[in-house]
Symmetry: C2
Subunit: 335 residues, 2 copies
Amino acid sequence: MPNTPSNRRPTLKDLAREAGVSLASASYAVNGNGSVGEQTRAHILSVAQRIGYRQNSAARAMKTGRSGTLALLVPDLTNPFFPALAQAVFRAARAAGYTMFLIDTEGNEALEQAALAKGVDLGVDGIAWFPIRDKDTSAGVLARTPVVVLDRTVPGYAAIGIDYLDAGRIAARHLLDAGHRRIGIISGPTDIASMRDRCDGAEALICGEGALAFRVENAFSTDLEPHAQAAITGGGATAVFAAADVIAIGALRYAQANGLRVPEDVSILGFDDIPLAEQSLPPLSTIELPIEDIAQHAISELGKQIGRPHASSAALRIVHTRTRLVPRLSVRLLG
Amino acid sequence: MPNTPSNRRPTLKDLAREAGVSLASASYAVNGNGSVGEQTRAHILSVAQRIGYRQNSAARAMKTGRSGTLALLVPDLTNPFFPALAQAVFRAARAAGYTMFLIDTEGNEALEQAALAKGVDLGVDGIAWFPIRDKDTSAGVLARTPVVVLDRTVPGYAAIGIDYLDAGRIAARHLLDAGHRRIGIISGPTDIASMRDRCDGAEALICGEGALAFRVENAFSTDLEPHAQAAITGGGATAVFAAADVIAIGALRYAQANGLRVPEDVSILGFDDIPLAEQSLPPLSTIELPIEDIAQHAISELGKQIGRPHASSAALRIVHTRTRLVPRLSVRLLG
DNA sequence: TTGAAAGCGCTAACAA
DNA sequence: TTGTTAGCGCTTTCAA
């Protein structure tokens, strides 16, 4: 009959007592690091199994200052880009031996700040942070915690960026190469630098080698606002670069609902390559974000910062990853 | 000049020293519970602010046995149902004063087990668990941690269920009421009880008041397998109940790609009400899951278990929530 | 109202 | 190889 009070979760001490060894031996056996005789270890482990011993990571974390956990903050899980990114980051974290938690900041800056603080308080070893906007809501809370900002840039933090100017150029290049000259742009909300960049990149090239039919802005939604609707039906563009797939899908639907065939009458190029893009009719040509690259770089950057306690004030790495064109059927090759 | 070594995160001790008070007073001030003079507290708080003091929740959790955090495990974040559920659960948790972390078990039972264990080890106060299948992968790890199982049932755990038999009946009722008599069912993977139930519920009613044209199974995907394709084009049904929206969307597309108009030639009723359902052409009639109810009940059940240390062996609550029909345009009312 | 001090469960020197 | 022991940062009882 075990001496362990059955209503309490067994501790290392219980385990040691139960197995008739010292605390240290029990700890070594459980962590597999110190030196314990092979049979001692086996015995301890079997007792652990029997009494249902589990590490108390809080205590362990307190002692070692490491919790083996990372947090990922994303602004909106219902935007299909983020689950995809999250899975990639989860995988990368797992490969590096970390357990990753996800927090949805729900587009709410107060929540974002609270989540950042909570992460720090709980002692996660690092935070991969996809900010709601290009704004530092951290209020100094992150001073001593490894952080890497994803996709955006927040002054003072390492970041994994995407070369959006280049991405915009890739988009424009594709349309131009397909023979289009009058090209319109439907931008997403421009308070986000990455959005401005991709549109600026595209616009520069379009103006250089063709003509910008229009450049309008629309919310991050498949519902097109009136001016965007007007641009599509009356803007005179043979091709439209919609700087986000959700908007592109909205444009596609709007065009079709108004008697325009895609791509025969108007070509549409999206951006993001969300799962839905492949399944629209016609399948949407789009620009794919280097999700895997971002995930890899993010975890490796975090790993570096965690390894090297405080070089945070040292050179802040900003890694740039590149996008790729995914040609499908929504862009027409002009004769 | 503060005496706090600047490269280390300030501790309560640092705060107490810096403010010239005892550890206890500092703790009281920070937590707002013990008794401290008004000015003492204000002073301590301002010093805390200045030196950037933050609680170390790991230490706090170790002492109190409570971390103020909950974990939510879901099987697949790229299935749009889960982000929606996650957001609802996050909100409910927040309203109850908890911080919630999300873990995607990625349909992998080994990962699920590891996540469960990690949650327990980290000392979360409770776990809301949406299992991959109706299978207990917990390996006894959860013995002393409050747990509530979502949507499925796992022996030995409290659960928030959905009355799927009833849901299937609601689906069949809708089709029958619209005048359909030859009705087919495309089921999802039937190793999941909830899937069997909704189909069984529908089938019973269909057989009673009409005729079952076919009942086939398909993976949880918009890609239809050959037998499902054949059933749609050659099964002779005027209406199809696809027991998951993703499958319904696949059926819709397949039908349309093969010259069948929806709902003129064939009606399609889905299940889940994922965001995409509203945006398909035609908008998909479907059955809505009571996400908010599930979230509320889950958090409240967890709250009860956390409050009452160990009534776990007591009566296991199984709460049942009800679904609702969301009529849109993919079901035709027969003359 | 304030402070001293005892641990929470664990790790890692260090000693044996 | 094994055991003893000093804390990690915090809360909280108890005494002042």
